[in-house]
Amino acid sequence: MTRRAPYDGIVVTTPVSIPYVRFSTRGAHWWIGRALAALVRDSGLTKDRFDGVCATSMSLAPDTAVGIVQHHGLTPRWLDYIPMGGVTGVVAMRRAARAVQAGDADIVACVAGDTNHIDSFRQGLENFSQFGKDAVYPIGTGGPNASFAFLTDYYMRTYGARREDFGKMCVAQRENALAYPHALFKVPLTLDQYMSARPIAEPVHLFDCVMPCAGAEAYLVMREAEARDLGLSFGRILGTIERHNAYTDDPVQYRGGWAMDSGELYGMAGVSPDDIDFFETYDDYPVINMLQFEDLGFCAKGEAPDFVRGHSLTVDGSFPINTSGGQLSVGQAGGGGGFLGTVEAIRQVTGQALGTPVPDAKIGLVGGYGMISYDRGVCSAAAILAAGD
């Protein structure tokens, strides 16, 4: 394979989050509009400077990115729409970075925003994909709950993970969330509470599930020189990967596409897992954290339960994960869920954490995982970010 060009001179900056709410009477354009306005406010740029837009939303239909630019009066020369759920934070970054690098755009606004009306989550499930509509929604799967129950059941049987191990991650993330102002869950969670929660789709219980909500996240991609001129703190993109529909012959998903590409990710970044100071996993159900620990090289396949047992996972711990609380504690704002980890990682490496900063955070890893269609998450992605200076 051709050696991939590095993202030299390209930076990520201006992380913004619009505080989440469980239900919203606003439309998706409102949430996207607030995020764009926050980008304008925090960057000091006028919106006509955004000559590239990469957007995602799961509640914008019938509109797409075209509707976004018309609605908000943008006139970009580069426009991308990435309806890919949980990988969008990373995917938007890597596409925008290449566009800027090639000169197709100078400043790309990457934005994810979703509303959440009563029943919109169910409607979204009903119409999520053709395979979903034909082969899972009609048999009662309460959306992703059952799909992740299968993965969790299989993983527990095969590798000996226990509910306590998942609980440890959920409890640690909740502790992180207590310091993050926008988290929807602001009460401490104990392991006892986790263990005694009601079953949803066994072995998945209440606190294994993310809460659908409304919210928006965004950031900018531009040249380093531009960021310096504007006086913006920035992070560098050391490496990224993206993979879709990997390992289709695995009867149940026990590894993601990361396992195919993690060598390339670290190779491109010139770092190893030991260099990672914090990890924003895609945590839509805690079993996926374990898959990422393994597939992104922190331990071998099947060893994630032991890895979890051997580490403290809070912001101040030996292996900080989901430093803002992750989707499990902040909420899952549709496509915003795919951006949450990326935006938090940009904050951490630029010293702008809204919650607790990871001490001396230099290098962060972001995992993306998305689009549970039929029996598995189809998309995977990851990025390594580093502090700008």
Binding site: A135, P138, I139
Partner: protein
């Protein structure tokens, strides 16, 4: 092991009759091929004609070689349950009212060149914890669409009493059955088969009380049987009968039939044809108008709800048998009406089951050579259909032979029949 069903208590008349909720019915057009197979009781998946890969979920092109030559092909259905879950929460009311609900992933056995697909399926309560050997069946759900059910590798006691299985079947056990005409040999056989299958109350229609038919007094004497007056040619009679028992019928089996064996020119005039239409077509229409709505209202009425409407049509409904021309035409009319009944009754979860038997071994088929379907065999097919998950049944060798020919090319069959083949 499934808990054996106990005889349900009498319904509390004060309680509201629950409205029938359905599992989600929308499917892509391509995936309706699965329903087409399940309607016949067959578990078929697309198999690529070019590379042999088995496909699931249904798709428009082969996942291995991108060929679009995907043929729906009968599957053995054996496989391994590799993961499972028990839902305690559901987004859709149909499932919400029926929790807990067991689902699983089954890796289908494969001997082809490519890996067999994983299937997400309903899981029978008697299937062991994963990993466990299972059999997959394609069945119609209450919305009339195909779903897959994993059954334990070997039958278990009372397995049809499993609540999830019972949602996919129309089992006569503890259900109240109405056999619209119990006097003929078919009606009598159906009554006995329903009782043997566990129905504890069978209403039996009698159109002409003065006719003494051999065997009927024995039927009348059975403890489960109540004889009711019903002449399907008489609108008042049908209305009276429906007023009397309509709100209690869980399964209606329409055995009323007029059958003569004449070619178009074999019997001058229309009297004979009119009599066949009067019972075989208009009789069905009258029954559908009087019994249909009240059965639909009871589509989810306790665990012994209204579940099925059974039509005994004929394989001659699909292609006219020239020496039984008017009978064939009346059955074709009934077949057409039954399609419309299905479209209406699906909304309530009541399944319209059509049987298309080959010639029955009855008086008016005297001159036909065997094989012929005995009334007892037809009755067994009806019970099998109710206990299974299908809606179109072709009992007997002639019916299966004709059906294959009809599916392959109805024109060829028509020409063969015209030449007496």
């Amino acid at each position: 092991m499934a808990k054996p069903l106990t005889k349900p208590k009498r319904k509390n008349p004060v309680l509201r009759t629950r409205a029938p909720m359905l599992p989600p019915a929308p499917r892509s057009r391509i995936s309706l091929g699965l329903t087409s197979g399940a309607a016949r009781g067959a578990f078929e998946l697309q198999v690529c004609r070019d590379c042999g890969a088995v496909q699931y979920p249904p798709r428009e092109a082969c996942r291995e070689c991108l060929s679009d030559r995907l043929d729906w092909t009968l599957q053995s259905g054996t496989g391994e349950l590799v993961a499972h879950t028990t839902l305690r929460h559901a987004m859709e009311n149909y499932f919400r009212e029926r929790l807990p609900w067991r689902l699983g992933i089954v890796k289908l056995d494969g001997d082809g060149p490519h890996d067999a697909p994983s299937l997400i399926v309903h899981v029978h309560g008697d299937c062991a914890e994963p990993p466990a050997r299972v059999r997959i069946r394609a069945m119609l759900d209450r919305a009339g669409q195909a779903v897959l059910l994993a059954l334990p590798e070997k039958d278990t006691p009372h397995m049809s009493d499993d609540p999830q299985m019972r949602e996919l079947t129309c089992d006569p056990k503890f259900r109240k059955v109405f056999v619209t005409d119990g006097k003929g040999p078919v009606g009598q056989a159906v009554v006995r088969a329903m009782i043997a299958a566990g129905s504890d109350l069978v209403w039996v229609g009698e159109a002409a009380p003065w006719k003494k038919i051999p065997g009927f007094e024995e039927i009348r004497a059975l403890p489960e049987v109540t004889v009711v007056d019903l002449d399907v040619t008489n609108p008042d009679s049908v209305k009276r009968c429906a007023g009397q028992i309509g709100p209690k019928v869980d399964i209606l089996v329409n055995t009323a039939e007029q059958h003569r064996a004449y070619s178009v020119g074999g019997r001058y005039g229309t009297e004979n044809a009119r009599a066949e239409m009067e019972i075989n077509y208009f009789g069905l229409l009258r029954l559908a108008q009087e019994f249909g709505p009240v059965m639909m209202a009871r589509g989810a009425d306790t665990e012994t709800n209204a579940v099925a409407w059974v039509n005994i049509l004929s394989i001659f409904a699909l292609a006219n048998k020239p020496d039984q021309s008017t009978f064939s035409a009346s059955k074709a009319a009934a077949h057409s009406l039954a399609q419309a009944m299905r479209a209406g009754m699906h909304r309530s979860g009541v399944r319209v089951i059509n049987l298309y038997p080959g010639p029955l071994d009855v008086e008016w088929n005297q001159e036909l050579r065997p094989p012929k379907v005995t009334p007892a065999a037809l009755a067994r097919s009806i019970v099998g259909a109710l206990q299974g998950g299908a809606e179109d049944i072709y009992p007997g060798d002639v019916a299966k032979d004709w059906y294959e020919r009809w599916r392959t090319d109805p024109k060829v069959l028509e020409r063969e029949l015209a030449h007496g083949e």
